[in-house]
Structure formats: C-alpha cells, structure tokens
Symmetry: C2
Subunit: 281 residues, 2 copies
C-alpha cells in the first residue's frame, strides 16, 4: 500500500509524539522536529510505503534524541495489562466446540490485541475492553476457513507486531500447536515504536509456547524482504505458511511478491488502510 | 514570542488542514504537503515567530494549490453567525451603567469574538456561545482601566484579526466613538487563513462605523512592521493608540519595538501563548 495525503499528517504527528516521549529537552525536541520535517520533505510521496516511512522516522528520532527506546514504558504497561487478560481470553477461545471455531476465535483475539497502538491519529485503544470485544465484534474480512484448511501439520511463521498484543498471540500459537503446527514467532531485533522485541516476547511467555522465537534481524515495521536478516530469510524459506500481524505487514506485504500463503491479522486503524482494503475503520 | 516545540505540530497540522480545504486533488495535496515539510525544515526553529511561519505557510499553500482563498466559506459562515449575534452583544454592552464599563464590556465582546479560529490543535470554537460567554467569562489579564484612561479623544488604529470576529469589533468601535476617538480599522490586504479582508469588513458593516477602513497592505498575520505597506505605516504613525487583535498580534508585537501604547485583545488558544503570557489556555 502506498502513502496517501492523510499519512503525511499521521506520520508527522506520530513522530512528534515519539520525540515528546523520547526527550524533555526543548532544544533537542525542536532539533528532532526539524530533522523530521527534512526527512518527510525528502522521502514522503505517493510512492512511499507508510510502514517504511514510520520505521525510518522512528530510527531518526532514536538517533537524534539519543533515546534507544522511547516506548519502553508503554510496552511494559501493555504487556502487563494484556497478560492479566490472557486467562479470560484463553477461556473464551477454549469454550468453542470445534477445532476450527477455536482457531477462528484465537485469530479474533489476536486481531483485537492489535488494537493496542498509540498515536495513530483518531485511533483510541483500551486493552481492558478486549474480552468484551471478543464476543461483540466480528471480522470485516474473514479468510480463516481457507487458512484453517491449509494449516494442519504445517510449519508456520508468525510475524508479531506490538507489545501487549503479543500476549494475545499466545492463544493463537496454542491453537496452531493443537493443529500440529510447528510455530516460529518473529519479533523485532531492536526497539521500533511499541513493536514487540525478544524482551517483550519473553515477558509474556511466548518463548515457552512457540517452538522457536526469532527476530527479523531488523528494526523495520512490517515485512520488508530487503530489510530483514539472512537468518530470518532462511526461516521464512523453511516455512509453509505466514501469519502476519498488523497494518505495517499489510502495507509492506501488498507491495512485494511473497511466494507463500499469508494470513494477515490486523485491526483497521486508519482511513488510508480502510480505503485500500475496503473495510470500515 | 518565539516558537516552541508544540508549534511544530500545530503549524504543520493547520497547514495540512488548509491544504485539504484548498484542493481535492490528491496528487496536488501530496505535493503541497511535501512543500510544507520542506518549508518547515528550512524555517522552523526556536527563533521563528509563529505568526510569521503561519503567514508563510498560508502563502505557500495558496501558491502550490492555486486556491487564492481556502477559508472563503468559513469566513462567510462566521460573518453571518456573528452578525446574527451582534444585536444581543450590543444590547449587553449598552446595558452597562458607566462609560468605562461599556468600554470594558465591548473589549470583552471583542475578545470573545477572537475565539473564532479553526484548526488550532485542541482549540474548539462555537460563535453561537458568544452571548452567554459575555456574562460568564472574565479577563485573565485586564488592562482596560489603563487603556480607558488614555483613549478619550484619541486617534486609534484597530488591527483586526478574523472574519466573524470583526462583527464583534463593531461594538468596540462604537464605544471608542462614544469616547470621541477617531477610529481607523485595518484588515488584511489579501486573504490569509480566516483573517478578515475588506470584503469581510464591508459585509459586517464595519465601513459604516469606523472613520476609516484601511488594509495592512499585506497578507501577513499579526503586525510585522517589515511586511506592511507605506500607507499603513503612515496611518500607524498618525495614531495615538493601537488596539491589536489576536494571538498573531501578540506573537509579533512582543518581538518588535512599537513606540505607541498598545492594547492587545485576544483569547489564549494554545499552550505556548498561555505559557508565554502566564494565563490559562
């Protein structure tokens, strides 16, 4: 997906909020804002991919402000909140009668977890409403039946998105294990926005559920084949099926050739993605 | 007043909203956004004056989009709404017992009119609440007594701010006339944001109340002595007293030497101005 006019304000605004989180030094904040303006002047266009722009903004701000992880506190908080909800989420998933229904419910939990994302213009989130959302919300686009038919006994790579959310992904991994899948979970190598890193994955116990915990080898949001490590590419080659979490994966995967079946699980949190995919925000 | 970190987001956001109003062409919108990023990268700093930045942004957007007056509809609407309220506002002012109280109430009406300004981050306005605000709100900083003592029989220049608001300024001009003042009202020469032009002044009938209606000779917000016309400077030289409306005047006048008494009348609509002047937003 390519950037729209609306992304210009959202990208800048999110960058500005990140700067504000990264440092309290007014002069450094202004310096970072000016660098951000310059980056956007040079890189923003209707050919840009929002997830790439967002990744580079995040990298720029970490560099200029010297703060390696501005979202650290938010990630810790979201991990804790999501972990508290995990038993209820798991119970709701396990209450379903059939294997397919449990898989589908786990996908839904995983998508609801994806709501956890700060500073997207006009998007508000509250992890604590997750359990009620599980019974009240439905998929806008639902390919779980097709995915389910392809998954049994396969080697699956799950590309995780945010901290907090990754706790919800545990119930999905549990269901994949029930289907006899071998599950590799990939998180970011280094902090970028509130995306989950190895630290977050371990905090929520994903390392104990997944068959293998790896990183993308990168601090780039979504899936960009030119930005990941050789080790990650080797894992991707070995797998039969990709589960890709978050709008960043949608934005990036739709612009590349991936020769494996991909199930994208995400919440539509902005108008440009809503328009592109044909679902309501 | 110099720009703060917060102004970076507000300036860009306001520019972005102006682009959105100026054209529906997605490609042109993106082009204008990129030009805006470039302008901000080159001009934004802790030495910049927000009103100057805002003026140049407005000029840039008019140029890139080819729309000479993106706020035309907003201005027409605000003029009409304010005109409908004018009789009630005038009655409230005239109900005061003394000449000073009427002058003070007219200043308050003029400040309440200054709330009419779209797209300032976090600032909402509704002209229709003006009459009730007149009785419920008080000045945060009140120098009307000092101003009143200097005004009788003087030549006054009133530097107007927004469309809509300029209808409320009529009651102030009426009170100045009661004090035997000769009143020159200055509006913008060309459209800039929702600032009043000669067209707006005539629409609300300011030309019939003021002794003279002039323009600043410029499309620049606030009062920048290096941006106004020779004719305006001549009028400024002739006058004994300046009434300056709006945050743009505050931001610009505080950065220049003006050798006349100035009464600034404005509503504090953002945090940077609130901090600078020591009043609540």
């Amino acid at each position: 997906m390519k950037a729209k006019f609306q992304c210009a304000l959202c990208d800048f605004s999110r960058g500005w909020e990140t700067i504000k989180r990264a440092t309290e030094d007014e002069e450094l904040r202004i310096k970072a804002a000016v660098e951000l303006f310059r980056f956007m002047a040079n890189e923003f266009s209707n050919e840009a991919i929002p997830a790439w722009i967002g990744s580079m903004i995040s990298r720029l701000i970490r560099k200029v402000t010297g703060n390696p992880d501005p979202y650290r506190e938010i990630k810790t908080r979201d991990n804790e909140r999501a972990l508290n909800l995990l038993p209820s989420i798991r119970a709701a998933v396990n209450s379903k009668a059939t294997s397919y229904e449990r898989f589908r419910e786990a996908c839904k939990a995983s998508v609801i977890g994806n709501a956890a994302e700060p500073y997207i213009l006009g998007h508000k989130y509250d992890v604590s409403s997750a359990v009620s959302l599980l019974s009240s919300e439905e998929f806008a686009i639902d390919h779980t039946q097709r995915a389910y038919s392809l998954l049994r006994g396969r080697r699956v790579i799950l590309i995780a998105d945010n901290a907090g959310e990754i706790a919800f992904d545990i119930v999905l991994v549990e269901q994949l294990k029930e289907l006899g899948c071998n599950v590799v979970v990939a998180v970011k190598e280094k902090p970028v926005l509130n995306d989950a890193t190895v630290e977050d994955a371990i905090k929520v116990g994903m390392d104990k559920v997944a068959d293998k915990l790896i990183t993308t080898g990168s601090d780039v949001i979504g899936l960009f084949l030119n930005a990941v490590s050789k080790d990650f590419l080797a894992e991707l080659k070995l797998c039969d099926f990709i589960i890709a979490k978050g709008m960043g994966c949608y934005e990036s995967i739709t612009e590349q050739e991936i020769d494996k079946p991909v199930l994208m699980l995400f919440r539509v949190k902005c108008e440009p993605v809503a328009e592109d995919i044909g679902a309501k925000r």
